[in-house]
C-alpha cells in the first residue's frame, strides 16, 4: 500500500511536469472561476466593509455579527440553497445558469463574501482612528479620509482577499452542486479530485491535489513576503 502512494506521487509529478492537457485545463478553470469569484466579492465587499469599519450607525453590530456568523457557512448548505435557486424550477431558473461556470463564480463569490467583508472591516477598525481625524484636519473630504484609512489597512485588505481566494479555490460543496462536475465545462480541481478518486484514477487525483496545495501555499507565502518587504 505504501507503494501505491509513492507510485501515485511519481506518476502525478510526471503528469504535472509533462503539462498534461487535462491537468492544465482543470487547473486553469479552477483559477479562473475562483479569481473571478474573488473579484466579485471584493467588488461588493470592499465598499460594504469600509462602511462597516468606519461609519457608526444603528444595527452595525448586528450586521457585523451576521457576517462573522457566516464566516464558516457550510459549503454544501449554500450549495443546496443555490441549486434550488438556479434550478429551472427555482426562482431564477430562467437565467439558465445551473451547471455553468457562471453559477460557480456567483456561488463562490457569495460563499466568500463574509470573509472579505469581516476581514477588511476588522483591518480598517484596527487602524488608529486619529488618522482619519488627522486627514480631515488637513482638509481632506470624508471620502478622501476613508481612502487614507483604507491605505493604512492595505496589509489587512490583501490578507482578506487572499483568504477569500483560498477558501474559494479549496471548497467543494458549492461548485459540485451548482456546477455538476461536467467534464470539460464545470469540473474544477476539488470536484475532479473527488470523482477521479472514486473512479480509481489515483495519479490524476494526486496530481491535482498537489497543484491545489501549491496554488494555495505559494499565493499565501508570496503575499507574506511582499508584505514583509514593505514594512
Amino acid at each position: 500500500m505504501g507503494n501505491e502512494i509513492i507510485d501515485g506521487l511519481i506518476k502525478a509529478l510526471q503528469l504535472i511536469l509533462s503539462g498534461d492537457p487535462t491537468v492544465m485545463e482543470i487547473t486553469g478553470r479552477s483559477i479562473l472561476v475562483s479569481s473571478s469569484a474573488t473579484m466579485l466579492s471584493v467588488l461588493w465587499g470592499l465598499p460594504a466593509a469600509t462602511i462597516l469599519g468606519l461609519k457608526r450607525f444603528r444595527g452595525r453590530f448586528l450586521l457585523k455579527g451576521f457576517f462573522n456568523a457566516m464566516l464558516g457557512i457550510p459549503t454544501v448548505a449554500l450549495g443546496l440553497v443555490l441549486y434550488l435557486f438556479f434550478s429551472k424550477a427555482g426562482p431564477i431558473g430562467f437565467l439558465h445558469l445551473l451547471y455553468s461556470p457562471s453559477a460557480m463564480i456567483i456561488g463562490q463569490a457569495i460563499l466568500i463574501t463574509p470573509i472579505t467583508v469581516s476581514f477588511i472591516a476588522s483591518a480598517i477598525e484596527s487602524v488608529d482612528p486619529e488618522i482619519k481625524d488627522l486627514a480631515k484636519t488637513l482638509g481632506a473630504s470624508e471620502t478622501e479620509a476613508s481612502i487614507a484609512v483604507l491605505k493604512e489597512s492595505m496589509n489587512g485588505v490583501v490578507l482578506a482577499i487572499t483568504a477569500s481566494f483560498n477558501r474559494a479555490i479549496a471548497e467543494l460543496g458549492v461548485v459540485l452542486m451548482v456546477g455538476g462536475n461536467i467534464a470539460g465545462l464545470t469540473s474544477v480541481l476539488t470536484t475532479t479530485i473527488a470523482l477521479e478518486t472514486t473512479k480509481g484514477n489515483i495519479e490524476l487525483s494526486i496530481a491535482l491535489a498537489i497543484i491545489l496545495l501549491l496554488i494555495v501555499s505559494v499565493l499565501s507565502i508570496s503575499i507574506n513576503l511582499i508584505q514583509r518587504r514593505k514594512t
Binding site: 457562471s102 463564480i105 471620502t143 467534464a183 465545462l185 472514486t198 480509481g200
Partner: protein
Amino acid sequence: MRKTYLVWVALLVLAVIGSVAGTMYYLGASTKNRLLISTTTSLYDTGLLDTIETEFETKYSIDLNFISVGTGIAIQHAQRGDADLILVHSPTDELKFLTEGTGVNRKIIAYNFFAIVGPETDPAQIRGTTPFQALSKIVESGRNGTTKWVSRGDNSGTHVKEKSLWRAAGFNLTTLTKESWYINAGSGIGETLKKANYFSAYTLADVGTYLKYYKDGLISLKVLVEQEKDLLNVYSAIAVNQTLHPTVNFDGAMAFVRFLISDEGQQIIEQYGKDDYGQSLFYPAVRLLKENTEPTIAQWIKEYAFFNDIECPPEYRKGYPELYN
C-alpha cells in the same frame, strides 16, 4: 481631486465587471448547443459514456454534458427541468416518470446483469446459490456478526433493484436497514464497491462496473451469484417532455437517442471493454429485441422492462415514430 477620484473608482468597477464578464463568457462559450444528460453512475464510472461522447461529438455539433448521479436523482433533475435526457435502469421508476408526463420517447439501449459480489472467503457461503437464498444466508451470518452488507442507499437503479430483491426474499427493509451489519453507503456504484471491498462485505453491483473495478485492481471482491433472470439489468434513455419544460434541448436529446440505438452506437456499447477486460461490460439491446436474436434474454427483458408488452406505450411518445418500427 474629488472628480479624478470618482473617475478612478468608476474605471476600477468597470475593469472588475469587464474581467468577470469576460471570464464568464470565456468559460460559458461552450454552453451554446449543449445537451445535459443526467445518468446512472454505472454507465459513467465505467467510462462507456466518455467513449460514446468522443464518437458522437465528431459527427454532431452538440456538446454532451454528463452529470453522474444515479437513477433516482436523474429523474428528479428531469422533473425540475434540469436535464434534457436521462439514462436510467429502474423500470418501475421509469414507468412512473412516463405516466406523470415528464418523460417521453423511452428507448431501451443496453442490458447486463447484476451480481452479488463479496469476499473470496465467502463467509456466508452464498457461492452458487440463487439470489434469494444468498440474501437469506447473508442476513443470517450478518446477524451472527460474521459478515456485512453494503447498500448503495441512494435511490439509484441498483438500490431499487436491491430493495426489490430483499422484499422478494421475504425481508422487511425498514428493520433490516437498522441492523448493524447493514451499511448504508450513500454513494455511487464505484465508491460502493470500494467500500464493500474495504469492509470485506457483500454488495449488489452491475457486472460491467464490477469487472472494470476488478480488472483495474481497485477491488478484490469476487462474483458469487450471477447470470440469473432475477438479476437482469436493463438501461434505457428517456427524453424530457418539451411541452412541460419548453427550454429543454429536445431535438438534441433525440439526436443522441437515435445515435445510441443506431448500429454504430450499439457497436460501441458491444465493443466497450472487450480489449481491456476480456468481455463487454454492457450488451446492446436494440437488435436483440427487434430480431429476437436471443429469445430467452429478449423474453426476460420484455417481462422485466416492457410496459404493456412494449418499451414505450404510444401515449408516452412524441414524434420520431421511426424509433419504434
